[in-house]
Each structure stands twice: as structure tokens, then as C-alpha cells.
């Protein structure tokens, strides 16, 4: 049978009809009442950020964008306020810590209810914490070596196998948000051993929230926007906004949006970009030093590099780096890191302890090393930019600095995943590196002491510096903050003299918001606490 051919006469009418339909759609849309461009309505808080989000299941998430959303939906035992790191009561109205810092007892509030009306009890805390541990996901390390029990409906006990004074600053982490155990179990969740294979609750938690916080999930997309709505039955103070929209925007677009929007926050502007907005009406610009730490690591294993492992070369690098230039590179608000613990945390060193560039000392150390024309390879994550600072730029700066003291640096840029693989294996001679706090406590920085996680990456074992390793162990077990501060400062001063880490700077961070907003401040762990942001 002959088929009718596709001819122009047949196609043309179809095209005309199609175009006419589209035109009608457009005309109807534009003619409709109330269809003027809709700015964010009053009662809607808009947060623009470049999305870093894999999930909003609290027990699996550890990304900045997820933390903003999860912090709004789930309550934690303790919390921090603003940019401070003092643990404050939240779900736990009081707590006690044993003298050995191994047993932590939390007494829960009795008036907390989940959004479905179920009272929040110790059983929910038990389930949430066990689920985190047994899922073996990104945040599971927060409760490493910690056993949870619920001796009564409103009492929770955490027992740590090791003295763990940092635990009070760990539990406010949004990953440790408490979920409605009955609801999560009903949707495939489990806290049992083997949860990493058996738990199926994540899809449910990507489209529903199961918390007791001031906001509930309205819609979730890890590509466009996360929308939270006020929880009408929230047990605490009424949420300040009816709707919170966390929107995925590149920094360049955030810069324009925040100037045009209402109730708008831009989280990812560089300090330089933010500075251009200073003095503009309707905007509030805050820049300060972030708790992120940029540093350089050098390998102590002569099998990896004779040059890098040479103590005099290490000294030469320490005094050859131009720390002021690194700070300037980072922009207004950045500070030189006085040691490996950022200035925001307990135990940090005073500014007077900062390492200063001393070219004569550096050159003398090179001469003392006995190595002629020392050459060293430095690896860096080539496409990584943090706080608006490109690692490639930093690496170039390092190379130029060390050329001044006679050390030739060959730069090797690698994609992040490839960088991490060789870095974790301790194979880099020298690395341009970075550390962001997991929790706001100096214990998080023990990784840099001999035998610690980061120290192992430069093959600096406990036996390489037993005195410092012993000091670190003592600091880890000390409970009183005053004593801890003193010990960590002692560690810091020693490390500034002989550790294979060179603390460079804490970059500037910026938050720009509509001037009517209150409490729009960058947190230390979560980028922004949506439940605290209000409007004048």
C-alpha cells in the first residue's frame, strides 16, 4: 500500500498550528490577571547559594546546603547561636558530663512534638543516633566510638570509649538532628547493624521531613530549589517566615539578585564582590575571617622525597612563604592563621604567634640543608575554588615565594578526586591543602598532630615526634576548657616550629542580605541558621 509522503503541504499547516498555539499560550499567560513578575512575596525568605547538596536525610548528609535545610527542619540536643561555638540547650534542657569526659547525660524537654503530633522522646534520639552510626555515611564519624542508651523516656546517655570533651560541640551538628523514629521506620528506615544495606528511608526523607523543627519540607530538588514551610505546630517560638526558599544560583547571579530582591540572602559572594556592595542602600554586608584553613603540607618520608623530608628545607619553606601576600590574595577580612587551629576556636594561638617571613633565615636553612638547587613537586586540586580562592592561584604564589629562597617548585594540578586519592595515600611531596571544621572544637585539629589523620598523609607518625604526640593525647583527654586552651596553645606553638604543616590564612567570607533581615549571619558549622533569621 502506498503511504502518503511527508510533503511541504502537509507539514506547513502543522507548523503554523504549532506556532499559533505557542503564541496563544504566551498571549494568554501575559494577559492573565496578576501575572506581573512576582518578586519574593513578603513572608518568604530567599537564600541564594551555589548548591552543594547530595541529600537532606540528616543521617546521610554533610554538605553545606543540606545543613541549611536540615537545620531548619530537625532539632538537635544542643545548639549554637550566631557565629558562636558555646553549646546551648535545645532539645536537652540540661546535661551532665562525667569527670573523665566519657559519659554524657542529656535531660530532654517534655513538650517537644514532631509535626504529626508524636511526642519526641529518648527513643527517637536513640534511633536517630544509631541510624547515623550504622548507615556508615558521611556524618557517621561524628559518633565514632560512642554508644547511645535511653534509660528513661526523657533521658539519653552517650558513652564514649575514649574521653571525648568535644562531644558537646558535636551534638549541635544538623546531621545529628532527631527524626521521628516511628515515621522513619514506617518508611523503610532502620537503626540496626547493617542499616547501610537495609535502610530504605532516604527517598521518603527527600520528599518529606520527619523532624520537630520550625520548618517542614515543601519541596526538594538538589538542582533548583529547596522550599521549606513554617511548621504550624512548632513547639518553640513561631517561625519568622512562612516560606524559606533555598535557591541554587551561581555567585555572579547572586550578586545581582541580592540587590534586586526582598528578604534575600547571598551566601557565596567572595569578599571582593561583597565589598563592592558596601554602602548600597537596602543591603547589609558582613565580611569576616572564616574558620576554613588554607595550608601547605610537606611529606616527612625520605622515600617519597629526600628534599621534602629534609628538616632544613622544611624550615626554609616555613620562613620563605610570604604569609601577608597570601592574606592579601584572599581579600579584605582574611587573616593569617596563627596556627593550625583557626582564630574562631578554643585553643587558637594569639596573633603574635604567627609565623613571619624571614628570607635570610630561609636562605640560611637552604644552605644548611646541603642540597644543591633543591627541587620539589607540589600537588594541588586544580579546579577547586573555596571562598572564591582558586588553589591554582595559591600554588603559583607558593612557587614564586619559594623561588625567592632558591627552592624550585614544580606544580602538578589534579582533579579533586585524583588529588584526594594520592593525598590520602601519603604520596605527595608537598600539597596545597585546606581544612574545614567538622565541629567547632580543637579536638578536630588533632588530626594534624603526629599520628593523626592528616599527619599520616605526610607520613608523620607518633614515633616521629613522641613528645608532641603525648601532648596531643593529653589534650584530647582533658575536660576543662581552660586547661584544654592552654594545652592546645602549647601544641600550636610547637607545631609552628617543627610540624610539616604551614598554616597560611583563614579566608574572608561574606554574607550579603537585605537590610531588613536580622540575624543573617554565617554560622561556624552550618552556613546560615534559617530559624534565627528574622525581619524588621
Amino acid at each position: 500500500m502506498d503511504r502518503p509522503a511527508l510533503t511541504r503541504r502537509r507539514v506547513l499547516p502543522a507548523v503554523v498550528v504549532g506556532v499559533a498555539m505557542l503564541t496563544l499560550v504566551a498571549a494568554a499567560a501575559y494577559a492573565s490577571p496578576g501575572a506581573k513578575q512576582q518578586a519574593a512575596a513578603d513572608g518568604t525568605l530567599v537564600i541564594d547559594t551555589s548548591f552543594v547538596v547530595q541529600t537532606i536525610d540528616p543521617a546521610r548528609m554533610f554538605e553545606p546546603t543540606s545543613q541549611i535545610a536540615v537545620k531548619g527542619m530537625y532539632d538537635t540536643l544542643l545548639t549554637f547561636r550566631g557565629g558562636k561555638t558555646k553549646p546551648l540547650p535545645w532539645l536537652a534542657r540540661s546535661w551532665t558530663v562525667s569527670k573523665d569526659a566519657k559519659t554524657f547525660t542529656f535531660n530532654l524537654r517534655r513538650d517537644v512534638r514532631f509535626t504529626d503530633g508524636t511526642p519526641l522522646t529518648s527513643a527517637d534520639v536513640l534511633f536517630s543516633f544509631r541510624r547515623i552510626v550504622n548507615l556508615k555515611g558521611s556524618p557517621s564519624f561524628l559518633l565514632a566510638g560512642v554508644k547511645v542508651s535511653a534509660p528513661s523516656p526523657y533521658r539519653v546517655v552517650l558513652r564514649s570509649s575514649q574521653p571525648n570533651p568535644a562531644l558537646l560541640r558535636i551534638v549541635p551538628n544538623p546531621s545529628l538532628g532527631i527524626v521521628n523514629s516511628k515515621l522513619v521506620k514506617a518508611n523503610g528506615g532502620t537503626d540496626a547493624v547493617g542499616a547501610d544495606k537495609k535502610d530504605k528511608a532516604e527517598p521518603y526523607l527527600l520528599s518529606n521531613s520527619a523532624g520537630s523543627g520550625p520548618y517542614v519540607l515543601k519541596s526538594y530538588s538538589n538542582k533548583t530549589q529547596i522550599i521549606l514551610e513554617a511548621n504550624p505546630s512548632f513547639w518553640g517560638p513561631k517561625p519568622k517566615f512562612q516560606t524559606v526558599v533555598i535557591r541554587n544560583m551561581p555567585a555572579a547571579t547572586q550578586l545581582l539578585n541580592v540587590q534586586r530582591g526582598q528578604n534575600e540572602v547571598a551566601l557565596d559572594l567572595s569578599a571582593q564582590q561583597a565589598t563592592t556592595l558596601r554602602g548600597k542602600s537596602g543591603l547589609r554586608v558582613v565580611t569576616n575571617a572564616s574558620a576554613n584553613l588554607f595550608n601547605i603540607d610537606i611529606n616527612t618520608d625520605p622515600k617519597i622525597s629526600e628534599v621534602a623530608a629534609n628538616k632544613d628545607i622544611q624550615t626554609a619553606i616555613r620562613y620563605g612563604l610570604d604569609y601577608n601576600a597570601f592574606v592579601k590574595l584572599s581579600g579584605p577580612g582574611a587573616v593569617q592563621a596563627p596556627g593550625m587551629i583557626p582564630t574562631t576556636f578554643l585553643g587558637h594561638l594569639p596573633p603574635s604567634a604567627r609565623i613571619k617571613r624571614n628570607l635570610a633565615k630561609a636562605k640560611a636553612a637552604v644552605a644548611r640543608s646541603g642540597i644543591e638547587d633543591p627541587k620539589i613537586t607540589m600537588t594541588y586540586p586544580s579546579e577547586l575554588t573555596i571562598n572564591g580562592i582558586s588553589f591554582a592561584t595559591l600554588a603559583q604564589k607558593t612557587k614564586a615565594n619559594l623561588a625567592d629562597v632558591g627552592i624550585e617548585v614544580t606544580l602538578v594540578g589534579k582533579p579533586v578526586n585524583a588529588f584526594l586519592e594520592t593525598y590520602a595515600a601519603g604520596k605527595h611531596e608537598m600539597s596545597q591543602s585546606y581544612w574545614g571544621p567538622d565541629y567547632p572544637d580543637p579536638n578536630d585539629y588533632l588530626v594534624f598532630t603526629p599520628g593523626g589523620l592528616a599527619a599520616n598523609r605526610v607520613n608523620w607518625g607518633a614515633t616521629d615526634d613522641p613528645a608532641l604526640a603525648a601532648l596531643a593525647k593529653r589534650a584530647q583527654r582533658t575536660v576543662k576548657d581552660t586547661q584544654r586552651a592552654r594545652l592546645f596553645q602549647q601544641i600550636g606553638r610547637t607545631m609552628n616550629q617543627r610540624a610539616p604543616f604551614y598554616p597560611l590564612f583563614q579566608p574572608a567570607q561574606a554574607i550579603v542580605s537585605s537590610s531588613n533581615l536580622t540575624n543573617a549571619v554565617l554560622g561556624v558549622i552550618w552556613p546560615l541558621d534559617v530559624r534565627a533569621v528574622g525581619s524588621r
Partner: protein, 358 residues
């Protein structure tokens, strides 16, 4: 993309009688797609394995990734603890059952991710390409007909500027002028903050909202669509214009065109019925390629306008070594090129009866 790819016969020659020629043609293209898809999945799989780096390290973070149990759990969860041939065969087996796997980045099925990303890009690409054709083809014809006259020179300079201008820069400029300064268009994303997408029919928000009679959302979606589509169209207007110009120049001095003029036909008819029609197959070829490019490679515009399309998805997937997502995107790209080839071949027949199917 060549006219020869179509099943064609020339007038005057005896035509072999093939039953269901169109279906046969479709079948051939489908078979080509299956072979291509297999090849692409294999290549994407092997290349991803060759890239050094363990995605578990960045996914789990520095502390958790130091715990071998957590790393093992990660690999078990994503199936990357199995031998490579098993991983690949499992992927193919799941693919046969319509399962593209789960993205390591979004923790969602890749099919769900693609179902969100493809319509977003398609909506953008369709408007961009429509604008590009409506402007590029007529201007190309004008430039060719007025070859070496001031209007031709002007159009060539403009098209050169359009091609040379970096898209990301144009996108930023457009945002600055039309959003920030003039406030004619919104600043990015597919909808205003807090506006919920319409129920999914096609996945293209403007169309879906219109189909559901939700005119506020339809208008909002169109508002958001226009600026990125125009930016995307700018480069392609220039491209289509240049190709149209050269295609028209190839035929404009042919004898049959001269004969048409000698017969006293109005110049408009000469151009429309004789010149343009003869030049169209080449133009359609370019438009097909441009459309496929726009559909698969609008990453810069998507990024600046926070448009959650396939370009952004592909970029993120490759940065994070998200294998299932990379494979899903590769399959989509293969499908687009095969489909566009197919449509172009069919269009050849529509434009030129000599190239028509039996």
C-alpha cells in the same frame, strides 16, 4: 548528516517496491541507535574507570573516608565493589529493564534526574532554536542576495561578532542589563522563588502550566525562559546566518535561477521558490546539528541562569565521577544525535521531492 543517509530514489529511475519503507527506515535508525548506545556505554564506562580517583573520598569527606569500613560500605552501596565486567554487565542488564541506575550525586534514579533535566533544556533549546531560525535564515538569504553590498558586509560583521562573543560573557551582560538595570526579566532559575512547578506533563514548565490553565505560573515560566533562550540563540543566529548565506550563494547563480528570472518571475518568488528551496537541505543540516548542540551543550548559559538542564547535570556528573549519571547523559546525547539525524533525513524528503521516501 548527509542527504545520502536517507532512503532516496531519483525521479525517472525505476523504484524498487519496498513494503513499509518508512518503518524500515525507522528500524534501521533504531538499530543504529542500539549499536551506538552499546558502544557509548562501553566507552563511557571504560573512560570513567581510567580517570584516577575514588569518588568515595570526596563523597565521604576526609575523616569518614579514612575509615575502611565506611569506604567499603560506600562501594557496596553503589555496586562499585564488584569486578568491572560484572559492573558493566549489571548496568546493561538493568538498562534492558529501563533502570539507568542511581546517581551518586543526587541519590536519585538517573531516570528521574534526566526526566527533570531534559525538559528544562528542551524548553530552552526549542525557543532558542526557533528564534535562531526565524532570524538567522532570512538574514542569511538577504546577505547572500546582496552579496558584497553594504548590507552583506554589515551582516557578516554582526554574525562574526555573534560567533566570537563568549556565551558566558553575553549571559552575564544580558543579566546585568535586562534583569539588574532594566528589570525586564527575572534573574535566573526556571520560576520565581517559592513558585511550585506545575504538575508534570511534558516537564516544560511554560507548556505544562499553560495546559493546566495555570496562567500565572505559565507567565512566570516564560519570563524566566526568554532571556537565557535569547542568549543561547545569539550565537546560533550568527551560525545559521553564515551557513544560509553560503548555501544560498552556491545556488543563486545557477542556470535555473537565471532562467526563472528570465521568465520574468518576481524576485521574491525567485528567491523563495527556487533559491531558498534548493539551499534548504544544507541549512536544515546545520540547523539539525545546531539543535543537537544546543540540546546537549548549553552548560554555560545553564550555569549562569541557574537553569537545571542537561548541560549542568553532565558537568557535575563528570566532575564528581558519578558513573551512572555519566552513562545516562551519554545515552541521551547518542539518542539526540540519532534522532536529529532521523528528523533531518525526513525533512530532506519534505523539502526536496527528489530525495523523497518511496
Amino acid at each position: 548528516l548527509e542527504a545520502g543517509n536517507a532512503i532516496v530514489t531519483e525521479p525517472g529511475r525505476p523504484r524498487p517496491r519496498t513494503p513499509w519503507p518508512f518503518l524500515r527506515f525507522l528500524g534501521q535508525r533504531l538499530a543504529a541507535f542500539i549499536v551506538l548506545a552499546l558502544g557509548i556505554t562501553l566507552i563511557a564506562f571504560l573512560l570513567t574507570q581510567l580517570v584516577p580517583g575514588d569518588p568515595a573520598l570526596s563523597a565521604l569527606g576526609p575523616v569518614t573516608s579514612a575509615d575502611p569500613e565506611a569506604v567499603a560500605a560506600y562501594h557496596h552501596h553503589w555496586g562499585t565493589d564488584k569486578p568491572l565486567p560484572v559492573q558493566y554487565l549489571t548496568y546493561l542488564w538493568n538498562l534492558l529493564h529501563g533502570d539507568l541506575g542511581t546517581s551518586q550525586l543526587s541519590h536519585q534514579p538517573v531516570s528521574t534526574d534526566l526526566r527533570e533535566a531534559i525538559p528544562a533544556t528542551a524548553e530552552l533549546a526549542l525557543l532558542a532554536i526557533t528564534v535562531a531560525i526565524l532570524i538567522g535564515v532570512p538574514l542569511g538569504v538577504v546577505a547572500a542576495i546582496r552579496q558584497n553590498k553594504p548590507s552583506d558586509h554589515t551582516l557578516r560583521v554582526v554574525s562574526l561578532a555573534g560567533i566570537s562573543m563568549p556565551t558566558f560573557w553575553l549571559a552575564l551582560l544580558a543579566l546585568y542589563v535586562f534583569f539588574f538595570r532594566l528589570n525586564w526579566f527575572p534573574g535566573g532559575g526556571r520560576l520565581d522563588p517559592g513558585v511550585l512547578p506545575p504538575d508534570e506533563i511534558t516537564g516544560m514548565y511554560s507548556v505544562d502550566a499553560a495546559l493546566q490553565g495555570d496562567w500565572d505560573v505559565a507567565r512566570d515560566a516564560l519570563d524566566h525562559l526568554v532571556l537565557p533562550a535569547l542568549v543561547l540563540a545569539a550565537f546560533n543566529v550568527s551560525l545559521i546566518m553564515r551557513y544560509t548565506r553560503s548555501a544560498v550563494l552556491e545556488v543563486v547563480h545557477d542556470d535555473y535561477v537565471r532562467a526563472a528570472r528570465a521568465k520574468g518571475l518576481p524576485e521574491r518568488d525567485v528567491v523563495r521558490k527556487h533559491v531558498l528551496r534548493a539551499a534548504l537541505p544544507s541549512v536544515v543540516t546545520v540547523i539539525g546539528l545546531v539543535f543537537a548542540n544546543v540540546l546537549t551543550g548549553a552548560v554555560l548559559v545553564e550555569n549562569i541562569f541557574a537553569w537545571p538542564g542537561i548541560g549542568q547535570y553532565a558537568y557535575q556528573a563528570s566532575i564528581e565521577l558519578d558513573l551512572p549519571a555519566i552513562m545516562g547523559v551519554s545515552l541521551f546525547v547518542a539518542f539526540v544525535y540519532v534522532a536529529v539525524n532521523f528528523v533531518v533525513d525526513v525533512l530532506y524528503g519534505v523539502i526536496d521531492p527528489r530525495l523523497r521516501l518511496q
